[in-house]
Symmetry: C2
Subunit: 312 residues, 2 copies
């Protein structure tokens, strides 16, 4: 495991390639939540999500020879864009395996950031096979979106910045999908805060993290019927032990609560956030009494949303 | 007319009641515009629009006795909310005349900010009559949303802040509806910038400002068939002379261009802006060659938009 000094060093290494995102507040949302809420706006991060941090950290951890051969990942979401853009910033090739069913807008975004797309059948086996073939042919290094220690550390730098700006948080809440952001946040809270808890938030519909913490082993989602499309993935063996060790609890929310929280953030804070990013605020609204009188930090995970397909 | 010293003083007087809004940039939007564009985000202003500045300035210009009797306006848009909220901040009553046809969401917003609503028939005569009646009965002072010198000065403080942060602008562009923001901006540019032009932007569908500058007298809109609902109003005798004297030109844009610019701002900058607020950026995209190599400041006028009725 990384030390505090190494974590601090990793943050300065990636700082050139990422944005130090602003923190926002809203009197009206504080009123509704009946507590003080601060939002760390990773929707304003480069390519629109915190994933830029982890992708950059993982690429910078490679040797010069490895880097020269490029990186490969399979993703239809924000991580594909993050790997493409950070590879471009570092001048190396990025090979992105995407299911043929992925929306054109997502393929276009990857292309804009310089990623080289290989299309495959829309199932996990085909994705893994296509990525493995690219690894073999090009010598590129495979990057996992959440179950990779360097990715986890990179994601944790958002919480580090948050705590530098507001050292007195009682709790920091993030959404949990694959577990990278939550595990990284918990590590950063451990390193840089005193008396601050880390809480995860996820939809009831994909409550694998909640059930995993209950049972003590990684549980899987049988269905993925949630609007929070970034949270459908499962925990992995690299991030689960960190989550088990350092996360206080997982709060689950209903789909309607996600939509309400998302709409409130758009209407009142005037920022575009994706459904997954609204899950943490939905958790605060759902369990108000738990947060009463606390200073609450929420990481807004991203803002990449299809504007022609909004839930309101 | 106000002096530079008085303008500076007015800004410090209202500063307690308004937000110093952030300035944002986007590499991608710079690429599309082929120039350097800075956005002053008045969508993050209190109540979501620059109108908060003018309303506060107008109320602070009243005597203690006048203030005690309150203020009255007729508006179904941002000015109603601005007067309500600044009156509330200053502890005085705000009487708002709204057409009975105004959307419930706008009535609710005014109520949230403490405004006392009087409903009337949805025509300008009924609005004026209802406001006059309230003036008579309560002694409240009538505030005009754009044709009032203190309102104009207040709106100009956004450009003053903009120029304090970036003194080197070659041009500042604002949308033009009633003319308060454009006139105030032109005054501030005159006071605080060197070699900077002020340009207005408006839809072809409501190009009264363009035609007024051409003809040399205030022209009116025959139809108001634009998505930019904040720009349907006409210039007035207080702001038109300032615009005539200090504004370089008015650029007109098509409805499609407004929607494209609005969508780009939402998608790429991750901020919620109302259609009227996208008109200035639409003008830059339309007349790229004019702005090539210039430093362009755009005032994003507001972010109050009905999320259930978006044009994309």
């Amino acid at each position: 495991m990384i030390s505090k000094e190494e974590f601090t060093k990793l943050h300065s290494k990636i700082a050139t390639y990422i944005k130090r995102t602003p923190i926002m507040r809203s009197r009206l949302l504080n009123g509704l939540a009946e507590t003080e809420v601060y939002f760390k706006c990773e929707n304003f991060q480069r390519m629109g999500a915190f994933k830029m941090r982890g992708a950059t950290a993982a690429i910078l951890a490679l040797s010069a020879e490895e880097r020269a051969k490029g990186v490969v990942t399979h993703s239809s979401g924000n991580f594909a864009q993050a790997v493409s853009l950070s590879a471009k910033s570092l001048g190396i090739p990025a090979y992105i395996v995407m299911p043929s069913s992925a929306p054109q807008v997502k393929k276009d975004a990857v292309k804009t950031y310089g990623g080289q797309i290989t299309e495959c059948e829309p199932n996990i086996k085909a994705r893994e096979a296509a990525a493995a073939k690219i690894e073999e042919e090009t010598g590129a290094t495979f990057l996992h979106p959440s179950n990779d220690l360097n990715v986890i550390y990179g994601q944790g730098t958002a919480a580090k910045e948050f705590l530098e700006d507001f050292p007195e948080f009682d709790v920091i809440i993030t959404p949990v999908g694959g577990g990278g952001l939550l595990a990284g946040t918990a590590l950063a809270v451990d390193f840089y805060a005193e008396n601050c808890k880390t809480i995860g938030a996820e939809p009831f519909e994909v409550d694998d993290a909640y059930r995993s913490l209950e049972s003590g082993k990684i549980e899987f989602n049988k269905t993925t019927n949630t609007i929070a499309d970034g949270l459908k993935t499962n925990l992995g063996d690299k991030n689960f032990p960190i989550i088990q060790d350092k996360v206080s609890e997982i709060i689950r929310v209903e789909e309607e609560e996600i939509i309400t929280a998302m709409k409130l953030i758009w209407e009142r804070m005037k920022i575009v956030v994706e459904p997954s990013a609204a899950v943490a605020f939905a958790a605060v609204l759902r369990e108000k009494e738990k947060f009463h009188g606390k200073r609450v930090g929420i990481i807004i995970s991203g803002g990449n949303v299809d504007l022609s397909n909004l839930p309101f």
